[in-house]
């Protein structure tokens, strides 16, 4: 085609724009950005992988954004109406169409392949040496079931807790999720963990804490009027602290079972099943 775009000029503008973008984003490396421009703290082993992918996409889309909007603004300024201006008569350019079909397609497929690997690690391949916890969502609380000393679920020595999830640092945890009533979503922001708890389904996910600390569990799927306060607590302990906590829970539970204390209303009204209550109804059992 005779009407070649005046690339040198556009390219110079673009280079300048990219330079300014880089200069503006440089403080990110120094951690000088306000807190709301950061992803939350990384508390699981795969959180850095997820975040790296997030940042790769942010850079790709960010650069695309700047290029496209800069071209748009440049064209609007360069080709604005002035007396005597005549628009270029062209119906397009097939070579360009091919180029701008292939480039985004290649980038998108690359991103898909990159994502596929991480997704597989997080959601498909369960670790073998993991400790297991069962999580049951209900309006509006999280029930946790540990297998207890015998290592088996649904036996009398199971340890049940309400809204309290503890596990040791550096050990993978496999969680089996389900729900009693409606869909809830088990969201640990700092762990980059989110998985719906679906009634009638038992979904397995895993994660591994990489540091000791206390965080919160949020419900991320609308589950009714108390959705906003369906909050749990997660603690990643040292192995010793974890064992101590587990022993405390077990002791509390046997104590609670023996005298059957009356006049102790449940802290959360909707959560009828305090530790020691009958095992939850299984799907078909």
């Amino acid at each position: 085609m005779k009407n070649t775009i005046r690339f040198p000029r556009a390219a110079r503008t673009l280079r300048a724009a990219l330079f300014f973008l880089a200069a503006a984003l440089a403080p990110a490396a120094a951690g000088a950005l306000p807190f709301w421009l950061h992803l939350p703290e990384q508390a699981s082993t795969y959180a850095p992988q997820v975040d790296r992918l997030f940042h790769v996409i942010m850079w790709i889309t960010g650069v695309t954004f700047v290029i496209v909007e800069a071209m748009l603004l440049f064209f609007l300024w360069r080709y604005r109406h002035r007396e005597g201006r005549v628009a270029t008569y062209t119906h397009g350019n097939n070579r360009l169409e091919v180029v701008w079909t292939i480039i985004p397609a290649v980038i998108c497929v690359m991103l898909a392949l990159l994502s596929r690997r991480i997704w597989e690690d997080i959601k498909e391949n369960m670790p073998h040496d993991a400790m297991e916890v069962q999580v049951t969502g209900e309006q509006f609380a999280w029930n946790f079931r540990y297998p207890g000393p015998d290592g088996k679920f649904n036996t009398p020595d199971d340890i049940l807790t309400l809204n309290q999830l503890h596990f040791p640092v550096g050990k993978p945890v496999v969680v089996t999720l389900t729900s009693k009533d409606v869909i809830h979503s088990f969201f640990l922001p700092e762990f980059r963990v989110k998985q719906d708890a679906v009634p009638g389904m038992h979904t397995r996910i895993w994660f591994e804490g990489n540091k000791v600390g206390h965080w919160e569990i949020a419900c991320a799927e609308l589950c009714g009027l108390g959705h906003f306060r369906m909050k749990g607590f997660v603690s990643v302990d040292t192995q010793a602290d974890y064992e101590k906590w587990l022993a405390e829970q077990a002791a509390e539970q046997t104590q609670a079972e023996a005298p059957a204390p009356a006049g102790k209303p449940a802290a959360v009204p909707a959560a009828a099943d305090k530790p020691g209550a009958a095992p939850e109804k299984g799907g078909n059992s």
């Binding site: 775009i5 996409i57 909007e69 008569y89 397009g92 009693k180 009533d181 679906v198 009638g200 909050k231």
Partner: protein, 594 residues
């Protein structure tokens, strides 16, 4: 010319009916597609105001959680006793905001209003193929709106399960949910009738010479949209009926065994599949996203060439990419369900198809840039809104890549990042497209121009404040703020976000106030606007080759014959910088026909 098809006057009789004389037949139960289009316009704009007011209440709660609003204590004593919002009322508000905006505002304005008004004239038809069906479509949509508004006043309030109404929550909700289901079923029927009508009209009633590849891109977009509606809506209707049966007839399509609600075994449960609802809903829901964006893409593709005085860049690429979107749109629904418990391997397939569907949208964006390149650009109000569509749609499209990536979606799914994304597509995209269409076709609808200065003021306020309200949503999402949450101050990791939420809400107040300018401009211009004349924008398509507003049956005398494509602007050797589709070739003939 050999491409001039055989005379099709015969076919045009299908849409012909006598001009009405009584007030009722002329303005209320009209068969005229132009009147029906304007009826849809009023309907959609009213619902847009209602949806906007609901959003304002949602944002008020997010900015100042729990702070009373005295007048609402009187207006909605059950939902906001003493002016203080209850969580269930908050859930109703965002559910109804989304439902109203999607089904009762965006779809009717793009398809019902612009589709109805513009398509028959653009293809050179005297009316829609089935005028009575067309009237029925509109009058079926009215009770749907009445029902959805009525649902606010029933016991337990309006539906509060989100616009996606995920089962089993939607199965155990109060009565408002039943009205929601019935209302959408009725509205779905209306849209289905419209889709059949559009397809028949576009296939059969094109003027002589109006081949498919001479159709304006607005018509192309509505053609594809109608196809999507026809194929996707029955699936939604089936799902709605199943959920309705679960609620009122005791079936258990979506209710698995052993459901225990508030400590009590749910009476009818067993054998149902919870995820089935999501599969059915999103099988409709994803094409629905394109149903709402394609017409706006068409309008933008219509307006950019007119005000760049240049042919659209890559006409066929534009048409083919819309076909690509339509096809791929049906195999990406699973990307809404990556974290739902659906098999993660299936998640990967849906990720790949989703990444691929980004490509046709990219093609369209580059072609819009190509259209501007080398143009003679006029910054009219329709053009400013169409350009806003392009620049904002880019943001909405790019942010979609984050959630297309399955691992990144783990974190941002169901957070405000998603809310930011959909508003960049639906407000930044669809609504700016609708504004562009409104300013562009207003002179054709009412015979008078809207005020340009106030139009630009309205555009500037909307464009700036839109970004101030919605861009920060991405930051909220990056901090892990879940959507649909009544009081985020419950969570320690979200506590610092209140100032940002307040800033967004204050920006929304300005955004909302700015729309008063549009309302005033809309109504005052009907009487006071400058007379438009048939072709105020010097455009080529057929709707500008007849009077404003067009007469009954659109064209005086014979249906025009079409000689060329719709975007022949600044053609070398032609006298003026536009060349109407119906102008016979050769300078002598042109004069004679004018």
């Amino acid at each position: 010319m050999s491409t001039v098809a055989k005379p099709r006057e015969e076919a045009h009789h299908a849409g012909v009916h006598a001009a009405p004389t009584s007030f009722w037949r002329k303005y209320v139960f009209s068969l005229d597609h132009k009147v029906i289009g304007i009826q849809y316009l009023i309907y959609a704009l009213s619902m847009l105001v209602l949806g906007g007011l609901l959003a304002t209440l949602v944002r008020y709660q997010l900015a100042w959680p729990g702070r009373p609003l005295a007048f609402m204590g009187k207006l909605a004593p059950e939902g906001m006793p003493g002016g203080q919002m209850l969580p269930e009322y908050y859930n109703s508000l965002f559910t109804m905001h989304a439902t109203i905006m999607i089904f009762f505002a965006i779809m009717p304005i793009l398809i019902g209003a612009f589709g109805n008004f513009v398509v028959p004239i653009q293809i050179g038809a005297r009316d829609m193929a089935f005028p009575k069906l067309n009237m029925a479509s509109f009058w079926v949509a009215v009770p749907a709106a009445v029902l959805i508004i009525w649902s606010f006043f029933v016991t337990g309030g309006a539906a509060a399960g989100g616009w996606t109404s995920y089962a089993p929550l939607s199965a155990i909700q109060p009565r408002g949910q039943t009205l929601w289901l019935i209302s959408l079923l009725i509205l779905g029927l209306s849209s289905l009738l419209t889709a059949v009508n559009f397809l028949t009209t576009i296939i059969n009633l094109r003027a002589p010479g109006m081949t498919f590849f001479r159709m304006p891109l607005t018509t192309w977009a509505l053609f594809i949209t109608a196809l999507l509606l026809l194929l996707a809506l029955p699936v939604l209707s089936a799902a709605l009926i199943m959920l309705l049966f679960d609620r009122v007839l005791g079936t258990t399509f979506f209710l698995p065994a052993g459901l225990v609600v508030s400590g009590q075994v749910w009476p009818n449960a067993g054998g149902g599949q919870v995820l089935l609802w999501q599969h059915l809903f999103w099988f409709f829901g994803h094409p629905e996203v394109y149903i709402m964006i394609l017409p706006a893409m068409g309008i933008t593709s219509e307006i950019l060439p007119v005000f760049s005085r240049k042919p659209i860049f890559g006409y066929r690429a534009m048409a083919y990419s819309m076909c690509g979107i339509a096809g791929l749109g049906f195999i990406v629904w699973g990307h809404h369900m990556f974290q739902s418990g659906m098999n993660p391997i299936l998640g990967t397939t849906f990720m790949i198809s989703t990444m691929v569907i980004a490509v046709p949208s990219a093609i369209k964006t580059f072609n819009w840039l190509g259209t501007l390149w080398g143009g003679d650009i006029r910054f009219t109000t329709p053009m400013l809104n169409a350009l806003s569509f392009v620049s904002m749609f880019v943001i909405g499209g790019l942010s979609g890549i984050f959630m297309a990536s399955t691992p990144v979606d783990i974190f941002i799914h169901d957070t405000y990042f998603i809310v930011g994304h959909i508003h960049y597509v639906l407000f930044g995209g669809s609504l700016f497209g609708a504004f562009a269409g409104l300013y562009y076709w207003y002179p054709k609808m009412f015979g008078r121009m809207m005020n340009e200065t106030w139009g630009k003021v309205h555009w500037a306020i909307t464009f700036v404040t839109f970004n101030l309200v919605f861009f920060p949503m991405h930051f909220l999402g990056m901090r892990g703020m879940p959507r649909r949450i009544y009081d985020y101050s419950q969570y320690s990791h979200l506590k610092g976000l209140q100032p940002m939420n307040q800033f967004m809400t204050l920006s929304l107040f300005v955004l909302g106030a700015g729309q008063v300018i549009l309302v005033l401009n809309f109504f005052l211009s009907m009487r006071r606007g400058r007379l438009a004349g048939p072709n105020p924008w010097h455009a080529n398509t057929l709707e500008w080759q007849t009077s404003s507003p067009p007469p009954h049956e659109n064209f005086v005398g014979r249906i025009p014959t079409v000689y060329r494509g719709p975007y022949e602007y600044s053609a070398p050797g032609h006298g003026s910088d536009y060349w109407p589709q119906s102008e016979p070739p050769g300078p002598a003939a042109a004069k004679a026909h004018a």
